[in-house]
Subunit: 474 residues, 2 copies
């Protein structure tokens, strides 16, 4: 046994028997070295080992501390996971490159069918704007972005009963930029953040880029988010900020109920934890009423709400925003050091477009097309996939999340289908902890159900069936 391991074990005992209590500061490295007779390096290795085991945590310039509430049994321990160093970006990069060619049936893409996003009125507005020299603003609108656009976005919040002011809003280069800026404003390298175990890869990439430690909580089969695991995680780790998707979750599709959101807001308040809410699918609900965002339940200005026009008008525009509240100025500072500002021509066009309520009409027709298409995909797959596969259907968005038998890795299905010029999104893209949940895949159902689509879907079914039939563990 290495010296450091020996030391780590003896220190572990002190934590487990309660000699060192939750959030208590451990002796400094030097002090510990002097006391124990071990070298400084040995002590450092032992502390790092304990940190990796989730027993202690480090605060920059302050030293090491005991984590709160030790898990009392294994079951609890499974709920909250400290993820290993995140290295997902290369996987995502290779994946996105692989599904880029034009001739691929894009069931793997995250972008909705662009034909459904086509809004003649927006095009008309762009055309009119382009013809008028005066309305064509070439000076970039500096952070926080076009005032009229921020005002219109603020009005949309107010329609949902959320008090807002244009000064709360910062326009960003799409939703991913909004997430990145928010996360960068609230964290420093080495900080702990909390994510859902399965979430949009952009969240993982942001954590990787910023060098953050990621704690994950599993999905709740009924409520979408597991509040017990959530509370355990914030008790156990010094979480700086949470990043969650609660409406039309990508990739799974669920929308968390108002009741659970209310409870979550209470927890945020109780523990004074900030939340970055990725809500880019907020408009793609099928029910009568738009789901509420966490911002609605947020009385203490703890929530940064991120959204965009990418899923409704086209990701090519690169216009998103964050309801940043008191973080607005900090976010603008970072923006000024990176992308500077957002295309002003498109911002002007959106102002004109949103002012005439064309957007509402467009959204209504978009939602009904998405619902029709997703239902057809669901019906086909339910009928043809082997019963051992489970399909999660939720009334929003355009994704179906399919669970294969546990012994089938969905990456294998992805590879087989790519050879047939069909893409799907395997679960490794949404979960940086590769050991878990490798048997899921996401299908984009935004395409009009026709013969070409049906034939491609039949090949998806065929490949899955083949993998199941030929697997030794079956």
């Amino acid at each position: 046994m290495y010296k450091s391991e020996k030391l780590a074990n003896s220190l572990k005992l002190l934590i487990e028997n309660g000699t060192w209590k939750a959030n208590e500061k451990l002796p400094s490295l030097r002090h510990q070295a002097e006391q124990s007779g071990f070298s400084l390096i040995t002590v450092m290795n032992a502390y790092q080992e304990l940190e990796a085991q989730g027993l202690i945590y480090s605060k920059e310039k302050s030293g090491y501390f005991v984590v709160g509430q030790q898990p009392s049994n294994d079951e609890q321990n499974q709920n909250v996971t400290l993820n290993p160093k995140i290295e997902i970006n290369s996987t995502v990069f290779q994946y996105l490159k692989s599904i880029q060619p034009d001739n691929i049936i894009p069931f793997g893409t995250a972008f909705p069918n662009s034909q459904l996003l086509y809004s003649p009125k927006l095009i008309q507005t762009l055309g009119q704007l382009a013809r008028h020299r005066l309305s064509y603003e070439q000076t970039p609108s500096l952070p926080p972005g076009n005032f009229a656009l921020r005002k219109l976005i603020a009005q949309r919040y107010c329609m949902q009963g959320i008090q807002t002011d244009p000064s709360d809003i910062v326009i960003t280069s799409g939703g991913l930029d909004a997430l990145n800026l928010s996360l960068q404003a609230m964290t420093q390298a080495g900080d702990y953040i909390l994510l859902q175990q399965t979430i949009f890869y952009g969240a993982w990439q942001a954590a990787e880029r910023l060098g953050l430690k990621v704690i994950t909580i599993p999905e709740h089969p009924e409520h979408g988010i597991d509040l017990n695991a959530f509370e355990q995680a914030i008790q156990k780790y010094p979480i700086k900020v949470c990043l969650l998707m609660l409406n039309g979750h990508n990739p799974i599709g669920f929308t968390v109920s108002d009741e659970i959101k209310f409870q979550l807001a209470k927890l945020l308040h109780q523990y004074e934890i900030h939340l970055i809410e990725d809500d880019v699918y907020e408009e793609l609900y099928y029910d009568h009423k738009k789901p509420l965002s966490m911002k609605y339940f947020d009385q203490q200005n703890l929530v940064l709400h991120c959204s965009s026009f990418s899923k409704t008008l086209g990701a090519g525009f690169r216009v998103g925003w964050v309801y940043a509240g008191k973080f607005s100025e900090h976010i603008q500072h970072i923006q000024l050091m990176s992308t500077l500002s957002v295309n002003s021509f498109i911002q002007n066009a959106l102002v004109e477009y949103l002012s005439h309520r064309h957007y509402e009409k467009h959204l209504k027709s978009l939602r009904s097309s998405l619902e029709r298409n997703k239902k057809q995909f669901y019906a086909y797959l339910t009928e043809h996939l082997p019963p051992v596969c489970k399909i999660a259907y939720y009334p929003s968005g355009y994704f179906l999340w399919i669970e294969l038998p546990q012994y089938i890795e969905s990456v294998y299905i992805y590879q087989m289908l790519l050879a047939r010029n069909i893409s799907i999104a395997p679960s490794v893209l949404f979960n940086a902890n590769f050991a878990k949940q490798n048997n899921f895949l996401r299908i984009n159902c935004s395409f009009d159900f026709n013969d070409r689509i049906e034939s491609a879907l039949s090949q998806v079914v065929e490949c899955i069936q083949y993998a199941i039939n030929n697997h030794p563990v079956r």
Copy 2:
């Protein structure tokens, strides 16, 4: 005297008397502590003190090393500066906010007069594109960006005799994004970079954001860049990459000659140092021939060339690029984790616009308007400013760089003029070392010289005259 200071002084002696030689590794902290009997903290403080004095440098995970070639006299020492921790972004942010209002005469802005950038053909193209549903691409073009646009940009390089391929080019959200991505791809926090002592504040902001240590070299009065200081700097510090402006330098305005560029390329080659070239003013020359970029002289793929359409067609478009060569894939990775991609609608419009050579015609007229306006500004200021002020006139771009007497801080002029709704850019924005060169200011001369402009310029003269007359040191 503190213990650490005492230790630092004794170590300094070992370096100065040659016991420890250039690039030699110093004893590890622990080893030094054991040997000297001082505590680890004391040793660390002493090493950091020596690092701050520019005598040693640190490499992550490797320890401390002696810097090369000690300056033999004070004169040499003045050439190369290790700048203190950079904190310029807040200054720039406050400044940009202050000059934003519409009613301000914008002599302080970095953007050219948007009336001169207005290209009817581009507007026509945007309008036509907007009317055609099929040509309106809503899926974002992932990194490296629109292929046809990259091809057209590559062709423009070839026209200057620079071998290029579309795969070398990465489209970015403007020139600042190109600089940021390049710098991020080539450095890690704590690395040394080399900048010109006076340079566009975006370069300083990028260094601040990425936590880089900045070495600066002064401008050469005749050649623009001081090659001796440049060589001294790369000999003395482990420079990871240089970031320079050589054509239509912002804020000063000079363009470095081919001969000096050739010499610079030789130095880059000799020391195997990479260069990020900020060349966003490359098209705004007044002479017959476009100045060559460093890329032309670069045989070893050491230069990343950054440019954009912001200074020629409008910064509001947010379309720039970097000739990234072998760094292309790394830059795309970072892009995928941050802004994802660039507005695809505008990229399509630029493809159409550039394909028909409208751009050349536009540039020709833009250049002649800028030259006319700048000459008028120069004539007025030369006639009216007190002779103690020196005005640098260079035949490119749209800036005049004015040197006030050394006892006048240009920030003071900026404040006086702002109260009269006129902006200028004081030198503190371009030099993070606040102790130096506080007596310069930049004037944007891209505006058509009319009564309003003349009256504003007369107020600039008046304020400068007032400051000189009423200064106690005069």
